[in-house]
Amino acid sequence: MSRFLLPLIAFAILIPIFVIGLGKDPSQLPSPLINKPAPQFELPSVTDPTKTVGSADFENQMAIVNVWATWCVGCRQEHGFLMRLSQSGTIPIYGLNWRDNLPEAQRFLQQLGNPFVDSAFDQDGRVGIDWGVYGAPETFLVGADGTVLFKQLGPLNQTLWEQNFVPLIEVARNKR
């Protein structure tokens, strides 16, 4: 009896492990920045490179930091949603233009619209490294106290927004 029971038990234990393991996307890595202070930065602005944009601009307010680039397909995909989000006035969106080309980035915003309060131009990707960015688009939710509350990997859309961001924003706003 135990001859069949033991492998059966082992099988029953392994299956849920495999199911969970297969269901996970290995490209979605958890960010060690969650609940830690957002990294400080100050960079030239994409729209006007003589000015600077930085983490000081969204000090004491909740904000979205969106990592984008013109070479990134997912960024074009989520652009429509970001435009709608910015028009709704729910939360200010700051852009981190990562490893890009300035004239192309400017053209991108002119052609598709600019959902960002401002975008920081991170040409050599140094600020990206501080934020643990490994593939655009990535979207961070930063609380008013400057802690990173959430990181979304890949293109954002209404469903992901409602699922992952809205509850956190509500909790943070009710706490104040």
């Binding site: 060690p32 490893r99 990707g125 490294i129 501080d130 643990g132 490994y134 593939g135």
Partner: protein, 140 residues
């Protein structure tokens, strides 16, 4: 035939032309050795089964550049690994640290090895106690 052999050998050697890291070596050979050892142990997050030494993704080249900078600034290997783990998590290291989260990675092989050995020993002992009946066993 000889020409073919030479051609094929030369063709095999072209792999060396695909060197990923084209930056100049450190003047100090000891520093260069440290640099090469570090980049062999850091995962490229964009192309997960490559180290940043093997990858030509721009994230890998950015990380190599940062590691060079930190080395020239005199940071220790430990500080450099800490820098990476703080930003990208433990997964960035090919050799995970022995901590609570990665404990299972470290002890699982030992547990499995000894568990397997124990099982084998028990089965062998059990079978040794059985009478030898080779001839009749073949028919069954």
């Amino acid at each position: 035939m000889k020409v073919l052999g030479v051609t094929l050998t030369l063709l095999l050697l072209t792999c060396a032309a695909y060197a990923i890291d084209t930056t100049e070596a450190f003047e100090d050979p000891e520093m260069q050795a440290r640099y090469e050892k570090i980049i062999e142990e850091v995962r490229c997050l964009k192309c997960q089964n490559q180290t940043i030494k093997d990858s030509n993704a721009f994230l890998a080249s950015d990380l190599r550049r940062e590691i060079r900078r930190m080395l020239t600034e005199g940071m220790t290997d430990q500080q450099i690994f800490d820098f990476l783990v703080d930003r990208y998590g433990e997964f960035a290291l090919y050799r995970p640290r022995a901590s609570g989260k990665t404990l299972v990675l470290w002890i699982a092989p030992v547990v499995l090895l000894f568990g397997g050995a124990l099982l084998l020993w028990r089965i062998v002992r059990q079978r040794m106690a059985l009478p030898i009946d080779d001839e009749s066993g073949e028919e069954a």
